[in-house]
């Protein structure tokens, strides 16, 4: 599965929107709008002509009602030639990582040279639907011809007709096991004995790290968004730099009401955002003189019990570690998407337990401890937010940026997926790799 068997795949550039916290009303941008806004500057600043793009792949869970195959909609809106195919992928929370993986594999296999891949989600615009009773009533109303018929149909309307179906709630619920995502996080907290204080402290750190990253200009992948009302958005607006353990402690459990530990404060924020990467073969890099920021060394998907979907990252990262003969020290930085603070803590904990590693991961012994100072160093879903379809592409992009900034060798980007899966991508910094090789020589 590693790239030994195919062509090398490079990431040459990337961009994202700031992630905008959903504030209980319909956000200013549809999924298509976000994806277009993030990609426009990216395509503009690079030197290749738009018809050099072989395909566009976009991950998205819930595109806008007018955006069937939102990948294609966005591609056309960007002015990419009609002859360039575009598609949309959906692997729940990993849709944005799936698009990168699909692009990676198509280039590695020689089917493509240049692909625009990314992810997007406008969670604030998740549909609110009529329930079945109402749909049937509407059907009846449409069929009634005379005014009398119409009136009698209208008289049949009851309160139950107006109960809406909120797609976002259903989207964040695993119907096979009947658990909300927050409940799966509670299960992990319970399994590993993770305390509310640990979660809150982790959440606070996430906010502080993001605030510092913003301040230090470490997030130059963000492109400013402009709405049509004269506002602009230049940073992830869910960040709370003044977050403290005390302030977080005041929040009430959001899922297991009363007795639970998972709160809105230590969970990923519901946000809108889009992220893109440009992936290229060596040929394309040479032909268009593209600046390489990283290469993809390996990718992995894994499945596990949906009730503990948050453990997905360790299940996906483990085979990559084995296949590439890596130990934890070999990885310079880690991005594990913060769906819930407890779920990241659970992943770190699991790799330290012989029992979990032997039972669930078929390892001989524990993998070891991922150092927190190397994990999600610029914040994560808790502070940045988790627009489900976009996050996979965002963490890959940011890992590239971290590797570049620190001149580090390699990094791992991974996330958990509702429904009981995990995805992981191993990234390498070409510049640092070369310098290592040169030193060795």
């Amino acid at each position: 599965m590693s790239n030994e068997c195919g062509r090398k795949v490079y990431i040459v550039d990337g961009s994202r929107t700031p992630q905008l916290k959903s504030r209980g009303k319909v956000g200013p941008f549809s999924a298509g709008d976000l994806a277009v806004a993030a990609a426009k500057p990216l395509l503009l600043r690079n030197n290749f002509p738009l018809d050099a793009i072989d395909e566009v792949i976009l991950g998205c869970m819930m595109p806008g009602e007018r955006e069937a195959n939102v990948g294609r909609v966005v591609s056309l809106r960007l002015g990419i030639p009609q002859s360039v195919p575009a598609w949309t992928v959906q692997r729940n929370c990993a849709s944005g990582m799936q698009s990168v993986d699909s692009a990676y594999k198509n280039i590695r296999n020689g089917d493509a040279d240049l692909i625009l891949a990314g992810g997007v989600e406008s969670m604030s615009r998740a549909p609110v639907l009529f329930n079945h009773t109402m749909v049937n009533w509407l059907g009846e109303f449409m069929r009634s011809r005379s005014i009398g018929q119409k009136l009698s149909t209208i008289l049949k309307l009851r309160g139950k007709h107006f109960t809406p179906v909120i797609a976002l709630i259903h989207g964040l619920t695993d119907d096979t096991v009947g658990l909300g995502m927050g409940e799966t996080a509670e299960i992990i907290a319970n399994n590993f004995g993770i305390t509310r204080e640990q979660m809150d402290e982790y959440a606070m750190t996430s906010h502080h790290r993001l605030a510092k990253a913003h301040e230090s200009g470490f997030l130059d992948e963000i492109e400013v968004l402009y709405d049509d009302k004269g506002n602009f958005y230049d940073h992830d607006d869910g960040v709370r730099p003044d977050s403290t353990v005390e302030s977080l402690a005041k929040l009430r459990p959001a899922f297991d009401r009363k007795y639970g530990k998972v709160t809105a404060g230590n969970s990923a924020q519901i946000t809108d955002g889009a992220s893109w990467l440009i992936l290229a073969s060596e040929d394309a890099v040479k032909k268009y003189d593209l600046p390489v920021i990283a290469s993809i060394a390996d990718t992995q998907w894994a499945g596990l019990d949906p009730a503990v979907m948050g453990m997905g990252p360790v299940h996906a990262m483990t085979p990559i570690m084995q296949r590439n003969n890596l130990s934890i020290e070999d990885i310079d930085y880690w991005e594990i998407n913060e769906a819930f603070a407890t779920q990241v803590l659970g992943c770190v904990e699991a790799w330290q337990q012989d029992e979990y590693c032997q039972d669930k991961l078929k390892l001989d012994h524990a993998m070891g401890k991922i150092p927190y100072e190397k994990l999600n160093i610029d914040g994560g879903g808790v502070s940045i937010g988790h627009p489900v379809g976009a996050s996979g592409a965002r963490i890959i992009l940011h890992m590239c940026k971290i590797l570049q900034r620190t001149n580090a060798k390699q990094g791992m980007a991974s996330l958990c997926i509702g429904g009981g899966q995990g995805g992981a991508v191993l990234l390498q910094n070409e510049a640092a790799q070369n310098s290592i090789k040169t030193e060795a020589a």
Binding site: R45, R77, G79, Y226, G230, F232, D234
Partner: protein, 678 residues
């Protein structure tokens, strides 16, 4: 299908299909558009005479031109009409054809796709049915009023018959073009279908000849002889707010025609021809036709070279830069607008929404596409892709120069650099460039969306090819480009400024602004000079005036020398006038004893400066001065432009007035040497 009458130089050819429907194709030889010239009228008339003896089952009139039906009459033919008798004979030829078409004993259908104006619409109206495509390119209208006449081939009576007087008079009085949907709504056409169904729809009307629907009762009431005078007086009032009778007689003539004769179609048709023959020979109509051709001349300036720009980069997100950017996005270009300040860019994007909504109304997709083409670009990523970079930052030589130095290396080698400066010499800017020839002036006027003219400034260093490309760009973005020599004030501001300064001087002297503005309106200006100064902004007037006063020896009036920040004109709520919800509060009782002198002072300074521009060769041809002044300032179009006005009024008479003013008021009225060559 059989084909008859097909010869190389004929306008029409007839095809008869198996149903014996005659498809009458209009295809003017060697022309992109169909014009209903006298030759075309004569030929079609002959075809119809043949049909009278050998009646087809139906007649369908269609165009063979791509995306255009019939552009209207051939306006060039109007210019050859010397007197009313000639004009009447000319109009009656059209009437004969239209009457014959209307009287045909078989169903007649006009199958309209693309532009359908004037005579084309009148021809369609003479058919039993009009079927049009719903394509964006389909526009139907009776724009004769813009040429100082009104419909003269039966369009008045027939449009009223179809749509009722309110809707018909509205389109004739405004001259606006309707899309198919709007035309269907007012019953101007019977059917609107997608282009792919146009032939089927025309055929269906031809074969089934359905009964035409009667107009609703209320619409018919408007045409009753007792009601007409009331409505007519309302219409006159509305027209009066836009155009004075002594300047623009055509709308008044149209209203009278309807009021007097609407009860009798035959009579109305006869009187229509006479009225138009009268109007066509007035100075107003001649001058408006002249303006039409001046417009064509400006457009043709942009046709000499091909310049297929795709990406436009605008630097400066202020009002000017932002409006240029959104205008270009509306015109289909990919546009980046750069500014360091995201706050300002946010306002730029917000303003663009107004432009988009104004242009595309409620067409959600068109607005989305325009937004997708426009990008706020605070990093300047667009420079390296741009075919043309338009700089519209504030007027500071050093800042502009350092900007140019930093962007030139990033620009494509053959990209044009254009500056929107209105006051800095191009040579002072271009000297910092490695390739000074690529810098050209692209002087837009505010508000960009409404002002048709763009001055293309030719610096001493500017490559001629770059000038031509800039002209082409101006035309391609739907503006009227005018090549102007690089000299202070270029053409428009230079001619406008003495006129405004004279107005302000008169305010200094104690003449009420209302009187001054009224004098200008009486002359035919769209807005008085004092209100114009307030609208432009007194600070901007002052800075332009400062530049010109140094170069052209025009002293600044006292009122402009010291400005208060709170009294900069409309934008601050007060200038020479006070403003209430965007409108100046004027003292209607203001008066002055010598109104004529006020007008002379204004107009003659303008005329004198126009003459100076001609002498200095600011533009390439004399006519272009008139074109620039009309489209750049709104100078009374019915007067044909300042130089045309001088010619028609008489050089001697105006010279005398000028001499008198010089003796009374001083050397600013000194006759320019250019007068002698007029």
């Amino acid at each position: 299908m059989s084909e008859e009458n097909r010869s190389e130089d004929s306008n029409w050819h007839v095809e008869k299909d198996n149903n014996n429907i005659a498809w009458v194709h209009f295809d003017k030889p060697e022309s992109a558009a169909n014009l209903l010239a006298q030759s075309a009228i004569k030929e079609l008339n002959e075809i119809l005479i043949d049909f009278e003896s050998d009646l087809p089952r139906a007649i369908i009139i269609l165009s063979d031109k791509k995306d255009s039906f019939i552009f209207g009459a051939d306006i060039k033919e109007f210019t050859a009409l010397d007197n009313k008798e000639q004009a009447l004979a000319f109009m009656l030829k059209g009437h004969e054809l239209m009457n014959r078409l209307e009287a045909m004993k078989c169903p007649t259908v006009a199958m309209v796709h693309g532009l359908c104006f004037g005579g084309g619409t009148e021809l369609s109206l003479a058919c039993d049915y009009i079927v049009a495509s719903d394509d964006k390119k389909t526009k139907i209208g009776l724009p004769e009023i813009k040429l100082g006449i009104h419909p003269g081939y039966g369009g008045t009576a027939r449009s009223i018959e179809r749509c009722g007087p309110m809707a018909a008079m509205n389109i004739m009085l405004t001259g606006r073009a309707l899309n198919a949907r709007a035309a269907k709504k007012i019953r101007l056409i019977e059917e609107m279908v997608p282009l792919r169904q146009l032939k089927s729809a025309a055929e269906s009307f031809a074969l089934t000849a359905p009964q035409r629907k009667k107009l609703p009762f209320l619409t018919r009431v408007m045409n009753y002889s007792l009601v007409r005078p009331i409505i007519a007086s309302q219409m006159r009032k509305q027209v009066a707010s836009k155009a004075r009778k002594e300047h623009y007689p055509a709308p008044y003539s149209l209203i009278s025609l309807w009021q007097k004769y609407a009860g009798n179609k035959k009579l109305m048709l006869e009187k229509e021809a006479i009225a138009v023959a009268d109007l066509a020979t007035t100075d107003t109509a001649r001058n408006l036709v002249r303006v039409f051709f001046l417009q064509e001349q400006l457009k043709s300036q942009g046709k000499k070279v091909k310049f297929d720009a795709e990406y436009v980069h605008v630097i400066g997100g202020g009002i000017m830069g932002g409006d240029i950017a959104s205008w270009c996005a509306i015109q289909g270009y990919s546009v980046t607008v750069q500014d360091q300040d995201p706050e300002r860019l946010a306002q730029t994007i917000k303003r663009a929404q107004y432009s988009f909504k104004k242009k595309f109304k409620r067409d959600r997709r068109a607005i989305r596409d325009a937004n997708d083409r426009l990008m706020a670009d605070h990093r300047g990523s667009g420079i390296h892709r741009a075919d043309i970079v338009i700089e519209a930052i504030f007027e500071d030589v050093d800042v502009k120069r350092s900007l140019y130095e930093s962007i030139e290396p990033k620009m494509k080698p053959d990209a044009i650099l254009a500056t929107n400066t209105s006051s800095i010499k191009l040579e002072d800017l271009s000297s910092c460039l490695k390739n000074p020839g690529r810098l050209v002036g692209l002087h837009f006027f505010n508000p960009v969306a409404l002002m048709p003219l763009v001055e293309i400034i030719r610096g001493n260093e500017t490559d001629e090819n770059v000038v031509q490309q800039a002209l082409a760009f101006g035309k391609n973005i739907g503006k009227l480009p005018l090549a102007v020599k690089s000299s202070p004030g270029f053409l428009v501001n230079r001619i406008l400024m003495p006129y405004i300064l004279e107005a302000v001087t008169m305010v200094d002297e104690g003449i009420p602004p209302e009187v001054i503005d009224k004098a200008a309106l009486q002359y035919g200006m769209p807005m008085g000079p004092i209100e114009l100064a307030d609208t432009v902004g007194l600070d901007i007037c002052k800075s332009v005036a400062n530049i010109l006063s140094a170069a052209l020896d025009m002293p600044l009036p006292a009122n402009l020398k010291t400005l208060s920040d709170k009294k900069l004109g409309k934008k601050t709520g007060e200038g020479f006038y006070k403003y209430k919800s965007g409108k100046p509060i004027k003292n209607k009782s203001a008066s002055y004893s010598n109104q004529q002198e006020v007008q002379d002072r204004l107009v003659l300074r303008l005329l004198n400066e126009a003459t100076a521009c001609l002498r200095e060769g600011i533009v390439d041809e004399a006519d272009l001065i008139d074109a620039g002044v009309i489209f750049g300032t709104g100078f009374a179009p019915f007067r044909g432009g300042p130089l045309e006005y001088i010619r028609s009024t008489g050089v001697d008479e105006l010279s005398q007035t000028l001499e008198g003013l010089k003796n009374k008021l001083g050397d600013r009225f000194k006759k320019d040497e250019g007068w002698s060559s007029l």
